[in-house]
Symmetry: C2
Subunit: 339 residues, 2 copies
């Protein structure tokens, strides 16, 4: 297998010039560059990343940490990050942990050493010392969907979005509105995702002086199945029923709609349902939702990092990007039936 030495020889230049021509760093005469490039092509030259990385300190690899992969949001996110990274020739190293000392190992070993040029962390909860470590090492990092002081982040305005969704229901005339949020924690490693949404929801309720009932505050694990279960229990139970339901995710909202239908209720006739996400799964049940385009968030995060890496070593400005959302009105929300 040909190395840079063979390429240089064939092109009649030194390995230094070959390296410069190949990497695009430093000046090389057009003629020399041309010869190097074609020599490389002739020989089927492929750079050794290990060697390059050892010598230069750059690895052309970005680490991505997610709480789990199999969820609509995070897999879309990954999709976006992957494509942004690949089109710049960067590698993506994927990490996901939720138990044991894996967290320590990943954060310490992988992030702190030359292995990674940058990190995108989704919902990752960094404590002070971890953050300090990362910043000390000078690794660019961006958070998606979580706030860590001092770290650039991309996220939606959870509070405002939840409030907006709730106000949509209120605007339609609903006063009895239930809340289906995410289960509190994904463990200590990651941010709970729906805390701010819950607050936005209640803020809207309070402003409109709607009744607030703890019986109408549900939590599920973000899946269709659990949303179905929890909402079925609520609707089938005794006591007054809400006329509308706010869900922290579309998947749970779909579960909720199916549960309502199974009990003989109509949506939106007997129950209006709104979700957050823009998960296509909602289409088939006509779910009204607020779309947040996670793939775009992912590629945006990657681009910020890539730009930073291209520009050089100055520390990252802790910018905070609030992503745009679309309000998608379908058929799951309507004015409440008059009683």
């Amino acid at each position: 297998m040909a190395g840079i030495k063979e390429v240089a020889e064939r092109a009649g230049v030194s390995t230094a010039t070959a390296s410069r021509a190949l990497s695009g760093r430093g000046h090389v005469s057009p003629a020399a560059r041309e010869r190097v490039l074609s020599a490389a092509k002739d020989l089927g030259y492929v750079m050794s990343y290990a060697a390059s990385s050892l010598a230069s300190g750059r690895s052309r690899t970005v680490g991505v940490i997610v709480p789990f992969i199999n969820s609509w949001f995070f897999s879309e996110l990954l999709e976006g990050i992957t494509s942004a990274l690949m089109s710049e020739g960067y590698d993506l190293s994927l990490y996901s942990f939720d138990r044991q000392g894996q967290r320590q190992r990943v954060l310490a070993d992988y992030l702190l050493r030359k292995r990674l040029d940058a990190v995108v962390a989704a919902s990752l909860r960094l404590d002070e010392s971890e953050l300090k470590q990362l910043l000390d090492v000078g690794k660019p990092i961006v958070e998606i969907g979580g706030l860590v002081p001092g770290v650039p982040s991309i996220h939606l305005d959870e509070h405002a979005v939840a409030r907006f969704a709730t106000e949509h229901l209120i605007g339609l005339g609903h006063r009895q509105i239930a809340h289906l949020g995410g289960t509190a924690e994904t463990g200590p490693d990651y941010f709970p995702m729906s805390t701010d949404r819950r607050e936005g929801f209640y803020a809207a309720l309070r402003d409109a002086e709607c009744e607030i009932s703890p019986r109408w505050d549900l939590n599920a694990d973000y899946t269709v199945a659990d949303g179905y279960r929890k909402v079925k229990t609520l609707l089938a139970g005794p006591g007054p029923r809400p006329t509308a339901l706010f869900c922290s995710s579309d998947a749970m909202a779909v579960g909720a709609i199916l549960a309502a239908r199974d009990l003989g209720f109509t949506v939106p006739g007997d129950l209006s349902v709104i979700g957050i996400d823009g998960n296509p799964i909602g289409e088939a049940v006509g779910l009204t939702t607020i779309a947040q385009f996670p793939a775009r968030q992912g590629s945006q995060a990657a681009e910020i990092l890539l730009e930073h890496l291209a520009a050089g070593e100055r520390p990252m400005a802790p910018q905070s990007v609030v992503v745009e959302t679309d309000f998608i009105v379908r058929s799951s929300t309507a004015v409440p039936a008059s009683r």
Copy 2:
């Protein structure tokens, strides 16, 4: 930042011994090992993977190639691969391509060079020359869900599974059975996923001498939304309706059930529906399905690779593992209504 040299010094041994103690390769006296390990801990030593990789030719990184990330099957797969890899301290490099020369670049640059120790390819269609390259380089590789001659693979017996599902419907008394398969291609890079399932379906139909109608042969893109659309068109259209429907994926089956319900049909009363996957999304609509546990497939693939890497360099035996499935009967299938 401390290197192996400092660690060796502090432990009072040579770097060679330190290296051996740290990596576990070669013999080191318990005493020396102890001293090295504690010196490493004291200094917060973290190995440089670039250097290690350059010197040893091993990168402790496994490449994973998937057609896309955001689908239940592939993200479950990834989940399984990730956890198997992480628990052995391996890194996972994620690739996904569907256009441009990315394919070439990934296959040539990444797989052929020292960057990766092994590869798991999901549904990846390798042509002869690519395969030859990979085998020449001696990189262990396992395919999931696709057959490439000479490459070890993990997959279900698509034909048998589809046949089994179809025979379940036939066994209930159905004779008018429609087929909802996957759209033919994901591009030239990957295997179409449902070809064998389609054949198994028709084999069962032929054996039972059921009628076969091209009008009842649908294709969708594996999503709930598209399944919904296609089935709604079928059921709302003129002409005889099937009494049962076989779907190549649970997501499409869910779409089908929702479409049927929206048209006022009951499932399974007017239409029995069966899927393949074991996607939890089917739970909420009572979908009968054949579960295939992709996460398990992923970790199995990773374990095969890891074992091979641990054992040394002999070429991989092109074993072919057929994964187990579970038949999960819920409420979407029943005997046809007598007409």
